[in-house]
């Protein structure tokens, strides 16, 4: 076996690994399973998927019931507690303002997850609709959408977000939690959709010439019904993978924007803001715990979504597997 190079092992299937039953017997009565059911079956078998699920589940509970994780108030700050060490109920001690670091991290999950989730939903919604329309109808519609996506794609995302958020900050200086979240979501979605659009357009172009679409047309399905019921569902899998990974990327982007002072306003508890606050301390190498706690929470969260994306990619594309 040792001198077999990668790629050669498939020349001849070893006989003992090929049961005769598998060659001879074809189960005629077997109901063909849908693509999604098969993918779900493979997903369940993936350890990556379960690891990601556990991370995301813990995160979801943290967002919904922060009091389960901490009893401290993230906004209560007493300067007397500045950099106070860890104590009972305050596992990581206090930050510069004398607020509980762990409590701020637990409550900060909400803002980060809200930005990531909403921005992904918005981006995917715009991208799927525009990409499907462009790929399916072609012609002038396709040209218009493709050129428009070229324009938005050519501006670097971070730079565009900085411009949008800086302008809106000057128009509406104070706008509460959801208002602030929506601004970041808007900035991200408006300049990130071309990525999904291009993917969706490519997938639709591939799918729309397959036989089952012709079959649906033959039995009298209208154009729109065909697009909605047959083409889009079969073209979605690359988008789903991208969207999962995008969610993680957006959460990182929010923290990067907050680092520049353009993410969520200072009065909102978020990982980005906590990390941004911690930068001066890190520069002098003091009280690094102020940075480590939110940074680790953020990294684990993003890792959860990236892992989920990987697992879904493997499940949807069995060819890429071993």
């Amino acid at each position: 076996m040792s001198d077999i190079r990668p790629g050669q092992e498939r020349f001849v299937a070893p006989l003992e690994e090929t049961p005769l039953r598998a060659i001879d017997a074809v189960d005629v009565d077997a109901v063909p399973e849908s693509q999604w059911k098969e993918a779900w079956k493979r997903l369940r078998a993936s350890p990556l998927f379960w690891l990601a699920s556990v991370i995301i589940l813990v995160l979801a509970v943290m967002v919904a019931f922060p009091t389960l994780f901490t009893s401290a108030d993230p906004n209560a700050a007493k300067l007397g507690n500045q950099f106070a060490p860890a104590s009972e109920g305050h596992p990581f001690g206090y930050n510069f303002q004398g607020a509980d670091i762990w409590a701020r991290t637990v409550y900060g999950a909400r803002a980060s997850v809200a930005v990531g989730l909403l921005a992904t939903l918005a981006t995917v919604a715009i991208g799927v609709v525009s990409g499907a329309v462009a790929g399916f109808f072609g012609g002038l519609t396709d040209t218009l959408i493709s050129r428009l996506s070229d324009v938005f794609f050519s501006i670097p995302l971070l730079l565009a977000c900085i411009v949008v958020i800086s302008v809106i900050n000057n128009i509406f200086p104070s706008r509460g939690f959801w208002g602030s979240v929506l601004v970041v979501v808007l900035a991200l979605a408006v300049f990130a959709w071309p990525q999904i659009t291009r993917q969706m357009r490519g997938a639709v172009l591939e799918v729309k010439n397959l036989e089952f679409v012709d079959a649906a047309t033959a039995i009298g399905a209208s154009k729109m019904a065909n697009l909605r019921r047959h083409i889009v569902p079969n073209a979605l899998s690359p988008v789903i993978v991208s969207a999962t990974i995008m969610l993680g990327v957006f959460i990182v982007s929010e923290s990067a924007l907050s680092f520049l002072g353009l993410g969520l306003p200072q009065n909102i508890v978020s990982w980005g803001n906590d990390l941004s606050d911690a930068q001066t301390l890190v520069r002098s190498g003091q009280h690094l715990v102020v940075m480590w706690v939110p940074a680790t929470a953020l990294a684990i969260t993003v890792l959860g979504f990236v892992l989920l994306g990987e697992a879904v990619r493997e499940a949807l594309d069995p060819k890429a597997r071993k």
Binding site: Q8, S154, L158, I171, S255, Q279, A295, L307
Partner: protein
Amino acid sequence: MWWYVAKRLLQAIPVFLGATLIIFVLTKLRPGDPILALAGNKPISPEVREALRDQFHLNDFIGIQWLYFLKDVVTFNPDFVGLDGQPVFEKISNALPVTGTLALMALAMDAVIGIVVGTIAGLRRNGWFDSVTLVLSLVLLSIPIFVVGFVLQFVLGVKLGIFSPTVGGDWSVGSLLLPAFVLAIANIATTTRLTRTSVANNLTADHVRTARAKGLSERVVIRNHVLRNSLVPVVTYIGINLGSLMAGAIITEGIFNVQGIGNLAFQAVNRGDTPLTVSVVAVMVMLYVFMSLVVDLLYAVLDPRIRYV
């Protein structure tokens, strides 16, 4: 091929126009009187104000203002000034070399590390090296760039003193090593994954099997038949990202105090300096268009099946 290049450059014109128009209109939506900011928020006589408004074409319709901007940009007007009265082109040409060097260094690190590590991982798929790279690249993708930047700056720059912790105005290639690496980290992770998948897929391709069947040595098979084909998607990714690297430089330049384009853009946006902001965006957009053309032309080198018409 020249016909193809000309066609692509023509297609770039609407992209350039659209992108500058979007950013131009966005920055104009910002409330507040730009003239007041120019005068340092001091009272200013109506005559001077009118003269200044005239100079910056602020009395015209926004579309006309944009056309004036385009005229200044396209003719490289040396008197084209930002809202602080300083010439825009001079500022950009002062900031461009350092950011360009930074981005190209990051690009080189990305290409070398990403392709080498990715190829080894792809050739020994599911071995220990592959597993370690997979975990490492996913972790690197998950940590915000500025956290990595600060930690490396503190550990390698301040504590150990191996690299210079800040760059400042008087930059050198040596002082840019650490910032370039920080800038490249996220891309290295993706390039590695991409190369690994691509190499692994190509290993089982028919043409590789044929090459082996011909009796070519393993080295030649890997170099000429696996790598060359695997690099097509990788080159796209690396090349297309020069623009986003320069935008990502906004953060890296902030951490390491590099006086480059990112810093310039950030200051311009915060000041509401429309001419400078839109000019910087225009530079980035042109860079993106140029790089995507270069990438498409590289395709033909890597994949002889591709011909341009």
